[in-house]
Assembly symmetry: C2
Homo-oligomer: 596 residues x 2
Amino acid sequence: MPTYTAPTDDYKFLLHQVFNLQNQANVPGFEEATPDLIDAILDEGGKFLSEVIAPLNQVGDREGCVWKDGEVTTPPGFKQAYDQYCESGWNGLTADPEYGGQGLPHVLGTVFSEMISSANLSFGMYPGLTHGAYEAIVRHGSEEQKKLYLPKMVSGEWTGTMNLTEPHCGTDLGLMRTKAEPQEDGTYRITGTKIFISAGEHDMSRNIIHLVLAKIPGGPEGIKGVSLFIVPKFLVNEDGSLGERNAVSCGSIEEKMGIHGNSTCVMNYDGAVGYLVGQKHKGMRAMFTMMNAARLGVGIQGLSQAEVAYQNAAAYARERLQGRSISGAKNPDLPADPIIVHPDVRRMLLTIRSFTEGARALATWIGIQIDLAEKHPDPQVRKECEDLVALVTPVVKGFLTDAGFESTVMAMQVLGGHGYIREHGMEQFVRDARITQIYEGANGIQALDLVGRKLPQGFGRLLRRFFHPLLDFIQENMSDPAMKDFIMPLAKGTAKLQQATAHLAEAGMKNPDEMGAASAEYLRMFGIVTLGYMWARMAKVANERLAEGAEPRSYYENKLLVGRFYMQRWMPDVSSLFVKMAAGGKVMMSMDQDAF
Amino acid sequence: MPTYTAPTDDYKFLLHQVFNLQNQANVPGFEEATPDLIDAILDEGGKFLSEVIAPLNQVGDREGCVWKDGEVTTPPGFKQAYDQYCESGWNGLTADPEYGGQGLPHVLGTVFSEMISSANLSFGMYPGLTHGAYEAIVRHGSEEQKKLYLPKMVSGEWTGTMNLTEPHCGTDLGLMRTKAEPQEDGTYRITGTKIFISAGEHDMSRNIIHLVLAKIPGGPEGIKGVSLFIVPKFLVNEDGSLGERNAVSCGSIEEKMGIHGNSTCVMNYDGAVGYLVGQKHKGMRAMFTMMNAARLGVGIQGLSQAEVAYQNAAAYARERLQGRSISGAKNPDLPADPIIVHPDVRRMLLTIRSFTEGARALATWIGIQIDLAEKHPDPQVRKECEDLVALVTPVVKGFLTDAGFESTVMAMQVLGGHGYIREHGMEQFVRDARITQIYEGANGIQALDLVGRKLPQGFGRLLRRFFHPLLDFIQENMSDPAMKDFIMPLAKGTAKLQQATAHLAEAGMKNPDEMGAASAEYLRMFGIVTLGYMWARMAKVANERLAEGAEPRSYYENKLLVGRFYMQRWMPDVSSLFVKMAAGGKVMMSMDQDAF
């Protein structure tokens, strides 16, 4: 059975040494997040997830969720583990103390979300979706709604969902048919069918707060006529107690490739009572709040599967005796060497690990920016951080899930035939990771968001938030010989990315299809360069620590090795991706659609 | 439910126009393979596979094989379809007429193996393994063994298996423990456990002829002491009738990621009667005959899954209405445009298709070389073809399965969330394709075979069989303006591949680990350049046909478009792969194994 150990050392390195969270103590919410508290959270949280949540991952996959007469039973052990999770207070880690949360920085939620997803992606989705619904209500709901719903969502007693997709509309929400008819009492009656609703129905919580997009009849056509509603499974009385059952039900659950432990529901709304969140017809704005947070979360899910797959592949490679090193036996007294002696096995493992450690740095960096965007006292800093987060969100979602999935495939390969057998659990990581490239906007949509919306926004203002500090960093470290292996490839990759950006702006101006034709390669270039930047920053700190004589030396030395590997084996793709995108869209657009 | 249409037009183009099979009529076995006969086989075979075998693919996945008390039941419909398959004579297409086969060129078997695997990979494995066992016996068995076993294996009444892997040894067969004790009557008693035995037990055929590797006690240590045995499930009387049950049984079947319709068995040999094939201790040589054919077959399986996944993704993209073209509505009268208007959807589809059409050309080319290696009247030609096949075998296995798997992932992505749902069948292609990268030697082993065995063989003689005609082709077409888009990238890629080869030879001489460290990238470079060569050859023929005014013009025009796309979006990887491999193995080898 696969195991999971939370990468707490890595997070301590990132939070305390690379991004110096302690320097942000002037930001509200950070003052209490002392290094000691953070370390305690990492250690305790990691232990809980490894010991309680991770062992349920295979059970969840094998048993799955069971639908019967509209009720969904989660896999054995899920409900008990969820209760334990809530009782330990993990659900409200970053939530507002006004609603019972602990008010810790969002970045700790980011950290926790990687760990819970590694331990058990299906399980982590239940609180993850609650958190998304919490965010939408806390930002867009009325005071009354906040007081009524949030405390129990923070405690975990109630969970949440997001209802967007319909059978005929996924990406294109303007085609939505679910309607919300206004009632005299100010409520609405919601009617329609939503599909692919994660955690739409289950037995983990006493109530489920559905956030539902629907159209109020007579409103504007298409996407501009969409509003957001709270539709509780059980209506909530004024005192917070549960009232009668609402007219929403789960019609069936999907049989899927993976994430069997999470229920993916068809939700039928038959005149269910709904409460408008925010303004009429402004539902997409509120939904985007949820979606952007969710997109970052899904990116981190991609990383999470790569991490746990790596850990188990590395353990296998150290233990499995098979064949001999081609440069001479390394274990002459045993019948064979462990397969980790083989360069190609190391190549696979280091390809994954140089991705996960870089991706973890990116997730942490962006997690901190989200906090600063919300809470920094200087409005200029807030705006800059918000811009950066907006720019990088599709990159985190797209690149971390694509490379995360590829990592699980590679980790499975390390086990050879045993990787294909279910009991080893490696193929589950592949099947589970696969959804992350799809939900919360398929990765093609992320690429289009990056090139079509984020790049032109503010005449490139968002881009400057990224390139300026990156170019400054390169400049500052250019002459440091200890940084040469990092700065040279990073500088080259950054130059290519700038060139690609200019190319895209020019080509896209003439023909928008040219932006679409280049978008996937551009997003990947952006992702690879961004992780390169993260690696260079980590390398700088590792070099400094080694120079200071910090212990354990091997931690910093290995960090530099893995970083060098990244520079050697990931960065070169930037150049070929540029050549591909520069080929343009003419050939692909000239084929007749019936000829495909 | 997914559907499958055999790519018969493509095969006709390849066999008749690109590789001119009719020009080989002086080779025994080819004289009867007239274009009309070939076309009839393609059309009839394709129809049978689409109508009878493909509809069982999802059933096989859902129901799987069921083990009970040592017996294995295949999914509903498999047995009846297999009977129909045998009755129609498809099983003996390329087998020797002496044993009831039709004696047609091997290349038609290659073609048929792509089609049957696309239709239903799990199903196709049953006759595929029989074919492998047939090959081993026909080449290495005694006259008596051939007469006794082959006719019923050719008719399909009996099936075959290959038994190599044991729980503690997969890649490293020298560690094998299964033993074969010689008896006074000249037979052997086989004792041991084999795992991962595809089609090891099932209800499709009346007898199963296991080919088993085992060690005769007292023989040489390691791989040099391995012998090959025929171990029938039911002993066969001299008159060919079935005798008593042999002491071989199926202990269990594996729960796997995919290919659920094929039984993957633990086989227990408890003093089972076995018959030596070929010489004592020379089992690996005989096994390699089977394995090389099987490796090519598995490469083609990779292609096959890409093809069927492409067909279904393209159909979805043409039909699914969602969103609008970013360059303006293409279907203004409908609520949305089909998603095929989006450049990124086209990019995904053409990435797959430019791979499958190139891979199909490669499979066909190599299929013909296998025939010529066996049957050409000129021994020099035979040797040259044999060399080329030996060189390219690991490339076909490794590259066609890696890119084939990646293609299924991309095809699934075209369907968005619907791709993740089992009923659409797209995720099954991903799960089924995944095994092809693993079995018959994981792709890391293929890469090592290429750089460690095939490259140095005969001081680079094998390489010359590949590079000479390729360089000649480039030279001949360099000045043709209609070929410029093909020849320029091909020439560049070929130069890089030559440079990589020289680099590898030099670095590997100093330190064998350097070969291992570069092997995966080198194999992929080799694969991409080889498909580039195939595309250039197809482009040349398509240009010629267009110049002649051949119909339908759109076929040749689309061929050129898809080929151009390949040159633009696949070939650039050759350069970045070279940069990666040139970085060497120092970093990866210097990390302590406990630090992974």
